[in-house]
């Protein structure tokens, strides 16, 4: 048990730090932490992000735990975290490569052919080609395997028809990874197939989704007879669910790097600067108790992610335990934002950056927070995962298992 760096880790940290200092600018630690999910990247930002990624890739910093032959550093998960911690201290462009490197790359490395690995991985690593994930559909969110996007064989190609939703970065991605239904006459998990799709193909239409926080980082993607060569199939026909699970496991295994600590500092500052009954709110015991709870929960999450890391370092598989971070962290984020708005009293109902404390960052976080509880698995799905896959509690009776997909009830909404 040691929360400090070993000498080797300290050396790695120094190396990372030195490279970052030579190549980037330190961020202002006092700047109020802004939330994500609200931005939509413009072309200039994307170009900047790609330039930064290319620089990192050349020095071997983009995917530290990957084997060297695939462009990685052959490093440990702890080194990846050390890198993340250090990089977070610098001003860097948004990381639009995380979906590719974190989830899709590992899927190709696991299930892809040698040709697919050779064609796609190097450009993914250096950031010259950006990737997106096309899984959810309007009628298949929490129940992902209920998806209806059809793929029908036509010679050497497949023809894709249907709609995907919640696709981050679809508008600037070169490639997408998609799960489709190739056979509606077998049970719902059995009829799926997984493809790599060229996002520039004719027949693809991308529409941004406006979120309740005004941002539009997600898209709807419509497929109208989109041709995908069979060579882009990942895994066997009908094996799509197995391949998708690999992607999802890596999604959940993406590890925190002490995020949220800035947020707590902002809240502490707010409590110092806001008054209750003529004195700083920070002197009010209700505020103090609440702050203590937030602090303890955030620290608990942070150390829990570290514990997962130690397990990974020992060669254990990334387990569904990683779901804890999101299941606890997302509602915590919402509670903190709500509390911060309340602390401001009547002013808390202003979202005017010129009039509300800390440029109305808390109001922004409060309206963004619900998204964190829904994206990448709702609270409810995460509880199911922990209950069934971590705790091994028995499943509920299923009405959609042993029937052909076309016979599963879908209700009036999808009738």
């Amino acid at each position: 048990m040691d929360f400090n760096d070993t000498p080797e880790e300290a050396a790695f940290r120094a190396e990372a730090r030195a490279w970052l200092e030579a190549n980037a600018e330190l961020a202002d630690p006092h700047e109020t932490t802004r939330n994500l999910l609200s931005e939509r990247e413009d072309p200039a930002t994307i170009a900047e992000a790609q330039a930064w990624q290319k620089k990192k890739a050349a020095a071997g910093w983009t995917c530290i735990t990957w084997p060297k032959q695939h462009g990685g550093r052959g490093g440990t998960p702890i080194q990846q975290v050390i890198w993340n911690q250090e990089e977070a201290k610098f001003k860097t462009p948004p990381n639009i490569f995380a979906i590719g490197l974190g989830m899709l790359g590992p899927t190709i490395l696991t299930h892809g052919t040698e040709d697919q690995i050779a064609r796609y991985i190097p450009k993914m690593v250096e950031g010259s080609e950006i990737w997106c994930q096309l899984f959810s559909e309007p009628g298949a969110g929490s129940d992902l395997a209920a998806l209806r996007m059809s793929a029908t064989r036509d010679g050497d190609d497949w023809s894709l028809n249907g709609q995907k939703i919640w696709t981050t970065g679809a508008q600037f991605s070169r490639w997408g990874m998609i799960v489709t239904r190739t056979d509606p006459n077998v049970s719902k998990h059995a009829g799926l197939t997984y493809f790599i799709v060229d996002m520039k193909s004719p027949g693809i239409e991308i529409r941004p989704i406006r979120q309740i926080n005004g941002g539009s980082g997600f898209n709807e993607v419509f497929f109208n007879d989109v041709r995908v060569p069979d060579g882009n199939r990942v895994g066997a026909v009908g094996d799509g669910w197995k391949v998708a699970i690999t992607t999802l496991m890596h999604e959940r295994a993406s590890i925190g790097s002490g995020s949220g600590r800035g947020t707590f500092k902002d809240l502490l500052r707010l409590a110092r600067e806001t008054q209750i009954g003529g004195r700083p709110a920070l002197e009010d015991s209700t505020v103090r108790q609440k702050l203590a709870d937030f602090y303890i929960a955030q620290r608990g999450l942070q150390y829990t992610s570290y514990r997962t890391l130690t397990a990974l370092s020992r060669g254990q598989t990334p387990g569904p335990e990683a779901s804890i971070g999101k299941l606890v962290g997302a509602p915590l984020n919402q509670q903190m934002a709500s509390f911060a708005c309340d602390l401001q009293g009547a002013t808390g109902a202003l979202s005017d950056p010129a009039a509300a404390p800390q440029e109305a960052a808390w109001q922004d976080q409060f309206v963004s927070a619900p998204g964190l509880r829904l994206a990448g698995g709702t609270d409810e799905i995460l509880r199911n995962i922990i209950a069934e896959r971590v705790l091994r509690l028995p499943p509920e009776p299923r009405l959609d298992k042993d029937v052909a997909f076309r016979d599963v009830p879908t209700g009036p909404a999808n009738a």
Binding site: G345, D400, A413
Partner: protein, 370 residues
């Protein structure tokens, strides 16, 4: 003992609901939210024609003279519809302040136009973030003029007159200011709930007249806030009930894993808990309405109860509404966020729930009831 509204009051509720279903669908709320307008003037006029603004104003002053139980019923419907109106500012706050403290002359001069909706009133108390003490008021009344900055003032940008809590010598007074007068500068502010407007008002020796006894502004303001809290609690109750109804309807129609998501036990149990929360808030609100209509000794305590319970119920219901909708609940296109925004707007409009809990304990300590 009778713990329900009367048949007549229920009829009024039905009429109000039917009217709002027709004239204030959520698209109307969204229109205000997405535009630069501060409220819906046509709807304001329509409600005035039905006598809503003057529900508690005696007929002698141009009101409908219904009473507070009737006003509570209307407030619930206004809340249910998320009506984009300066109803709370004008009716629960400005009108109540004038009814409570105004001279005969002030009542005669102002209430008829407030009742008819021709003029909009508002109430300016807050000056900075947090939960202030009365001591914190810096806006000053001197020589018949008022100077200082109030922020935020709900509906301050569209109001015609405002009741201002101002320092007056050693104490506080309520003063009335005509917002078209010189020395008034108003700035509209971005509101968390864009369907309800917020403003900063700067007064620079703006002409003002005292409302009620000079120096009694602190206790008068508290009495106004107590009354408004009960009525606003009904708005929150309406919003909570509607959020709950929308949640349930969605969960019944949305299928996952081959069955309606409303059949999943974890959602069923959460909806059951939410139902309890809303019902308990309703009960506390009813008690508040009774206290208001009887001007009961327990009014301050009842106000705190109703306010806190309704705030919690609406905030929880609006939050669960998004969560149970899933991904679509986070889209601008769906209506979930309208409730979420309004729930926070109303939660803070009269100071946060903690400040009302604190006031409740003060009331219990002073032994006014319990």
């Amino acid at each position: 003992m009778n713990f329900d509204f009367s048949e007549d009051q229920k009829l009024l509720q039905k009429t109000a609901r039917d009217f709002l279903v027709e004239h204030c669908p959520l698209e109307a709320v969204r229109k205000v939210l997405e535009s630069s307008s501060s409220y819906d003037p046509a709807l304001w006029k329509g409600t005035a024609e039905m006598g809503w603004q003057g529900a508690a104003i005696p007929e002698a002053y141009g009101g409908a003279g219904f009473g507070y139980l009737e006003l509570a019923v209307l407030a619930e419907e206004v809340g249910r519809a998320l009506a984009p109106l300066p109803f709370a500012s004008s009716v629960y706050l400005a009108t109540e302040a004038i009814l409570l403290a105004g001279s005969e002359e002030q009542k005669s001069a102002l209430l008829p136009s407030l009742a008819s909706g021709d003029r909009i009133g508002s109430f300016a108390l807050f000056e900075k973030p947090g939960t202030p003490t009365p001591d914190a008021v810096e806006t000053r009344f001197e020589d018949g003029t008022v100077s200082g900055t109030k922020i935020p003032v709900v509906d301050g940008d569209v109001a015609d007159l405002v009741v201002v809590v101002a320092r007056d010598g050693d104490g506080l007074s309520l003063v009335l200011v005509d917002l078209d007068a010189k020395g008034v500068e108003r700035t509209r502010l971005e509101s968390f709930d864009g369907s309800r407007s917020q403003a900063r008002i700067r007064f620079d020796r703006a002409p003002a007249t005292v409302l009620g006894k000079a120096g009694e502004g602190a206790s008068l303001a508290q009495r106004v806030l107590d009354r408004a809290a009960i009525l606003m609690a009904f708005e929150q109750l309406g919003g909570a009930q509607r959020s709950f109804d929308e949640t349930k309807a969605f969960a019944m129609g949305r299928y996952a894993f081959g069955r309606p998501i409303a059949s999943f036990q974890s959602l069923k149990h959460r909806m059951a808990d939410l139902f309890c929360k809303v019902e308990l808030a309703r009960s506390n609100c009813y008690y508040g309405a009774w206290a208001l209509s009887h001007d009961a000794r327990e009014l301050p305590l009842a106000a705190c109860q109703a306010r806190v319970a309704a705030t919690e119920a609406f905030e929880l219901a609006a939050t669960e509404n998004i969560q149970i909708h899933g991904g679509v609940g986070f889209t601008w296109e769906y209506d979930c966020h309208l409730f979420y925004r309004r729930s926070k707007h109303l939660a803070l409009a009269l100071g946060n729930a903690n400040s009302w809990r604190e006031r409740l304990i003060q009331e219990l300590e002073s032994g006014s009831a319990a």
